[in-house]
């Protein structure tokens, strides 16, 4: 392990190198560009032996890694915003085909109007696709989650694609001190990818991506749903195993609490939780619960840690247009609906298009939440 101080993108690229994917496919889009540029540098210098495909669109990027994965190779790709939206078809298709892809999403706002700064609309909008979604708070966690992602995705109990979501610019372009693991440790942690469930091999011909009539389709979707539900256990297990080896732990893998022993709790995802921790430290009435695994949704875990709260404040960087709230709010509130004594749940839409979420704003939201009615949502700027 080396202690270092570098840009988040750089750290992620170096960690990808340690995971030794056979095939990397990349198409540039702000703010993911530094990740793929760094990987290209590493390949060009012979430091990374992966095959690097310079594709002509994000759609090609996801298609080519899907093909490579189906042929039995470990792969990597990264994208943001419009690129992720362009991949939409293949996100569903690759989850349906049970291909354990790993992708880093540098979260960025969606057009129109076009905006390059951070919010989480892009990946949250893909929540139905069947991909596991991990939202990270720091660049260190992004790097660690990439390593964990390969182990989780390729686990025979899971066999699903994973996206590691890191806030664009905030985590990709800023520098932070971090621990970079060494190659030996990572290779020990990651067994070789050896698929038997779906592989393109002339010695064992299989047909992948078939046509299905209604009843088989329904049954296969249920199988897929069960797989992503059961992956919760594996996510937590790998989080523990990672902690044992690398000495860094992220809650129970699905959620992370900080000073959550007070009457109010803020629920949020991503780097903004870092700012929220500062607010929590300056007060004594509110704690924070970070959702790390957004899909599969940690319903049971959230009920357990939020059931005794007076007020639950959901602060999120997305809006589900037409619903009047963000998706995280509606899902958290739905999770708590089963409780006999329900906390008041209020929502705040913040940070869209990269608007800064300051300590002042967060305090204002907390103050305001006392006056808000249950189920009310406000826009925070």
């Amino acid at each position: 392990m080396t202690r270092c101080f570098m840009e988040g993108s750089d750290l992620v690229a170096r960690v990808v190198k340690l995971c030794k994917p056979d095939v990397i496919s990349a198409y540039p889009i702000t703010p993911q560009t530094h990740i793929v540029e760094k990987l290209a540098d590493l390949v060009a210098d012979g430091k990374l032996k992966s095959k690097f495909m310079e594709v002509e669109s994000e759609f090609s990027a996801i298609s080519s890694v899907a093909g490579a994965c189906a042929a039995g190779s470990r792969t990597f790709t990264a994208t943001s915003s419009q690129g992720l939206a362009l991949m939409h078809e293949m996100l569903f298709a690759s989850a349906g085909m049970r291909l354990p892809l790993v992708m880093v999403v540098a979260n960025r706002a969606l057009s129109s109007p076009i905006n390059i700064w951070n919010d989480q609309q892009d990946s949250i909008s893909q929540r139905d696709a069947g991909w596991i979604q991990i939202y990270v708070e720091t660049a260190q966690e992004a790097a660690d989650s990439v390593i964990q992602a390969y182990r989780i995705a390729e686990d025979e109990r899971v066999l699903l694609p994973i996206m590691v979501c890191m806030d664009g610019f905030i985590l990709t372009h800023s520098m932070e001190p971090a621990d970079l693991p060494n190659e030996k440790e990572v290779q020990e942690f990651l067994p070789k990818y050896n698929p038997t469930h779906a592989i393109l091999d002339p010695k064992k011909p299989m047909t992948l991506g078939p046509f299905a009539y209604p009843e088989p389709y329904f049954r296969l979707r249920k199988e897929l749903s069960t797989a992503i539900d059961e992956s919760r256990e594996v996510i937590s297990e790998i989080n523990e195993k990672f902690a044992k080896k690398f000495k860094r732990k992220y809650g129970n893998g699905l959620i992370e609490e900080y000073k959550n022993n007070r009457k109010m709790a803020i629920v949020s995802m991503g780097s903004v939780v870092g700012t929220i921790r500062e607010v929590v430290d300056s007060r004594n009435d509110v704690g924070v619960v970070r959702i790390r695994s957004y899909r599969p949704f940690p319903k049971k875990d959230l009920i357990k840690v939020l059931k005794d709260k007076k007020i639950v404040i959901v602060l999120e960087k997305d809006i589900s247009l037409g619903l009047g709230s963000g998706s995280v709010f509606s899902e958290v509130r739905d999770a708590l609906y089963s409780l006999k004594k329900k906390p008041k749940v209020v929502g705040f839409i913040a940070g869209l298009g990269g608007v800064d979420i300051t300590i002042k704003l967060i305090n204002r939201a907390i103050e305001h939440s006392e006056k808000m009615k249950d189920g009310e949502v406000e826009w925070l700027i």
Partner: protein
């Protein structure tokens, strides 16, 4: 053709009786042998050959979505290279809809990067699987369900998009046009293409009895007439040099057109336009062949 009974596609495909596309697939596989991986786009052949939980394919086969057969194939080949496998052929296979239209970007990307795969289009000149709507490869004057012939319409107004020439413009070292009516020519070209590295392109003419409106027994006859009238030209462009592999004495195109319901509405004047277009194209291609110009260099 060593073992005539050799077949890597099982029977039981739910294609229409007399389907040209499946004849193309069978003969393609007879030429390639089993050390291949097929990446297919959505279309007639895909939907009828891979109905869960049964499959007609006896080779590894993947279908992702409609427009990315070429990209998926590029990814598969790259993975094989990373694994040290340099002998398995990877084929991106799709209908004209999936390769000429919606998949055009993916095809272009593969050709530009010169990924070591074979891109093969089976051309039934429409989106046959969804009910015979027009595609970029539908010929001029053809009636389809989105370009129906009528009092105010002659059918498709545009000429056929020429993907083989577009492939050579990208620098492809081997481009070929084949027809199911000439299986030996098809096999020869496939075998030749397999020995070449880089992005290779092949376009197979596959008449569609359901879509074009002729009896299911006439599929090969229609395909043969297409070549004999110059509506379909068998050629190869090897390393930029164009060469016709069949030089028939051209029959009048009317013989070909009148066999199909999709051209039934054409007037004498319109048939004349098509005939002139064929004559002109044929003459220019003759000139091209005689000139020995290298298309890879100039395009």
């Amino acid at each position: 053709m060593a073992d005539i009974n050799f077949d890597l596609l099982a029977p039981g495909c739910r294609t229409c009786a007399g389907c040209g596309a499946v004849i193309a697939a069978r003969n393609l596989l007879r030429a390639t042998g089993k050390d291949i991986i097929i990446c297919e786009s959505t279309g007639c052949l895909e939907v009828t050959s891979s109905q869960y939980p049964l499959t007609a394919w006896k080779v590894p086969w993947i279908h992702a979505v409609f427009e990315n057969a070429a990209s998926v194939a590029a990814g598969v080949k790259t993975a094989l290279e990373a694994q040290g496998n340099d002998h398995t052929q990877v084929i991106a296979f799709g209908g004209d809809g999936g390769m000429v239209d919606i998949g055009f970007g993916a095809v272009s990307g593969v050709l530009e990067r010169d990924d070591d795969i074979m891109i093969i289009t089976y051309d039934n000149e429409a989106y046959a699987n969804t009910g015979v709507q027009r595609s970029g490869a539908t010929p001029f004057g053809a009636s389809t369900s989105t370009t129906p012939a009528g009092l105010a319409s002659i059918g498709k107004k545009q000429w056929k998009k020429n993907l083989p020439m577009i492939a050579v413009a990208h620098g492809s070292k081997y481009v070929a046009c084949v027809s199911i009516a000439y299986p030996q020519d098809l096999q020869n070209k496939v075998k030749k293409a397999m020995k070449i590295k880089g992005a290779r392109y092949m376009h197979i003419h596959t008449p569609c009895p359901t879509g074009w409106g002729f009896d299911s027994s006439k599929t090969i006859e229609v395909a043969r007439l297409a070549v004999q009238t110059g509506m379909w030209i068998l050629y190869e462009i090897e390393d930029g040099k164009f060469k016709k592999t069949m030089n028939p004495e051209l029959k009048p195109v009317e013989e070909y057109l009148k066999m199909q319901k999709r051209f039934k509405h054409l007037t004498e004047k319109e048939i004349k336009i098509i005939q002139e277009h064929i004559n002109k194209t044929w003459k220019e291609l003759d000139n091209l062949e005689k000139s020995g110009v290298n298309l890879r260099t100039i395009l």
